[in-house]
């Protein structure tokens, strides 16, 4: 194992125009403008090894995409250094591009009006992939997902899930050393999410590709990453093993139920029945925080069903936001 990405004291500042309100303000903006400096990424350092899958987490606007854009060479850092594959990305963008693949959530790099296989052929020539490597890769893809029905479909006719899947395949096509996946599972249904996670996992194993994954979905992290880096407001909060994080959060799930009868009294009686659980009322639901190491969600549900008539239920994973809140409160590290 050797370091493939080395980041030291990385900082990126943007100048943002502060706009004034209303018509009068807009007119004033034409003549005098106030800029303020925003620090999108603040002193981030990390080293990533070849073959790792790193989950890069944080709420919206935390600076995840900005960091990725600097790693790919699209943006130049304000200060600090990045080395990917031993080269400085923004100085050698084309050279760096040969060794990386990217998927940016909602955008596609595929040719909109063409069947997928044509896009693959174009990429094959642009990245100068030889015939053997190209065919081997397609065979590998075939063994992992059912791509033949997709190959002759034009990209604009695909569903979001199919398109994301195709984009991921396109990003891996030239067998890059690093693949950046920026929120690849956003807006997908559960089955497609599972599909895509399986695919990413298999490609990482097969080709020893380093994967940098940004997401809001703790499920992605759980399924794929050995390591997570959490960033908020540009600052790094956490960089460690996923196991460490899971000790605190992985075993927690939120069970939400809606029994018949009056909500408050029922909640009160559930609280008495389930001793040691945190029971709260949240938007017409009674939410119970279940620590699965102590008691399974199904057991808890079973116990409740014996004494209550349950109309409706929901099961929720703990969210990134809650994890970050806990980190701020000092629960981890």
């Amino acid at each position: 194992m050797s370091a493939i990405i080395e980041i030291k004291d990385l900082t990126k500042e943007f100048k943002v125009l502060e706009r004034r309100e209303g018509l009068k303000g807009s007119l004033q903006d034409l003549f005098s403008r106030n800029y303020k400096t925003v620090r999108a990424v603040d002193n981030v350092s990390m080293t990533i090894e070849q073959g790792e899958i790193v989950g890069y987490l944080g709420p919206n606007g935390a600076g995840k995409s900005t960091t990725i854009k600097m790693m790919t060479g699209v943006l130049e850092p304000t200060s600090g250094t990045i080395l990917t594959n031993g080269i400085v990305p923004y100085k050698n963008r084309s050279k760096n591009a040969q060794e990386i693949g990217v998927v940016f959530g909602q955008r596609t790099q595929l040719w909109w009006a063409l069947p997928l296989v044509e896009s693959f052929k174009i990429l094959k020539d642009i990245y100068q992939i030889n015939d053997k490597d190209y065919n081997d890769m397609l065979d590998l893809y075939r063994s992992l997902v059912d791509i033949d029905p997709l190959l002759h479909k034009t990209v604009r006719q695909m569903s979001l899930g199919q398109r994301t899947l195709s984009d991921i395949l396109a990003a891996f096509l030239h067998n890059p050393k690093i693949v950046f996946l920026d929120e690849p599972t956003i807006g997908l249904d559960v089955a497609m999410k599972a599909n895509i996670r399986k695919l990413i996992h298999a490609l990482n194993k097969e080709k020893n590709t380093t994967v940098i994954l940004t997401t809001h979905d703790m499920g992605d992290v759980d399924a794929l990453c050995q390591r997570t880096v959490i960033i908020d407001k540009g600052k790094m909060l956490y960089d460690n093993d996923i196991e460490q994080l899971k000790k605190f959060f992985g075993s927690y799930r939120i069970l939400k139920v809606r029994p018949t009868g009056e909500l408050e009294t029922q909640a009160e009686s559930i609280k008495n029945e389930l001793e040691g659980f945190s029971v709260r009322i949240m938007d017409d639901w009674i939410s119970i925080l279940v620590d699965e190491e102590k008691a399974g969600v199904m057991d808890v549900l079973g116990r409740l069903q014996r004494s209550y008539k349950i109309k409706d239920m929901q099961l929720e994973e703990i969210s990134t936001e809650e994890v970050i809140k806990k980190i701020y409160e000092g629960g981890v590290n």
Binding site: A97, Q98, I126
Partner: protein
């Protein structure tokens, strides 16, 4: 250098534009309507002038020139500014910047397929019709070879100008006004809408010191045999070449300097 990737991008562009049959049809019809307007407009101009020859050109000369200019414009115009501007606003430019190719040539070759289809759809039919209808206005000799050379250089000059304007869009993040201004300037000063012979002095002389006339006027004047000897043809193509080199260098340097400034949208 690997030429295959450029050919692939051109091919993809051709396949892509073939997907849109209706668009092609509308373009041909629109083109036809424009030519009808041009015909009646200039007919009125010549009628009110009272003489057969205005500024050294007969009505037929003018019409042939403008019909071919329109065909050439439809074939050479790439709308690069629109495409790049749209990609800047949507943030898609990031994906194109991450191709292992120089962005300037990547974009050029990506849209080069349209040259081929537009050439077949608009320029070639117009050219044949003009040649047949006028019987002899276009001579088929060495001028055709020089014309092709001149068009290739013209395309390069046009692209460099477009690319410079698109780079300005990186700073303004708005496309419309800038692009309209560019289009008006280029169309007028290149001789695509009014033959340069109609410009009053000293305006006419000024246009010959600007790069724009090298885009449309230069190839057209060669095609229509406006030049008496090889030397003056060489002078026209030489001027084009100088502009081509100068503008390519400027557009590359400007892009390089600007790229460092950008903050890509959607970060």
């Amino acid at each position: 250098m690997n030429l295959k990737k450029y050919a692939t991008l051109t091919k993809a562009g051709i396949i892509e534009s073939l997907q849109f049959r209706l668009g092609t049809f509308v373009m041909i019809v629109g083109n036809l309507l424009y030519l009808i307007v041009v015909y009646y407009l200039w007919k009125a101009i010549y009628a009110s002038a009272g003489t057969d020859v205005v500024n050294g050109m007969t009505f037929t000369d003018t019409l042939i020139y403008l019909v071919l200019a329109t065909a050439l414009f439809n074939f050479m115009e790439m709308y690069t500014v629109w495409y790049i501007g749209r990609d800047i606003q949507s943030g898609k430019i990031v994906l194109d910047l991450l191709k292992p190719m120089d962005y300037r040539s990547y974009i050029f070759w990506s849209y080069s397929g349209e040259f081929v289809t537009n050439f077949v759809y608009t320029f070639l039919p117009t050219f044949i019709i003009v040649a047949v209808v006028t019987k002899g206005a276009i001579s088929f000799g060495s001028n055709l070879v020089f014309f092709v050379i001149s068009v290739v250089i013209g395309i390069s000059i046009n692209y460099s100008i477009d690319f410079i304007v698109a780079t300005i869009c990186l700073y303004t993040e708005s496309i419309w006004g800038i692009n309209i201004m560019k289009q008006v300037i280029v169309l007028l000063l290149s001789g695509a809408t009014v033959p340069l012979a109609f410009f009053p002095e000293p305006f006419k002389t000024i246009t010959f010191y600007l790069p724009f006339q090298s885009i449309y006027n230069a190839p057209l004047s060669i095609l229509l045999n406006a030049h008496q000897d090889l030397l003056s043809v060489a002078r026209v193509i030489g001027t084009q070449l100088i502009w081509c080199i100068v503008l390519t260098v400027i557009s590359k340097l400007f892009w390089k300097a600007s790229l460092r400034q950008i903050t890509v949208n959607g970060g």
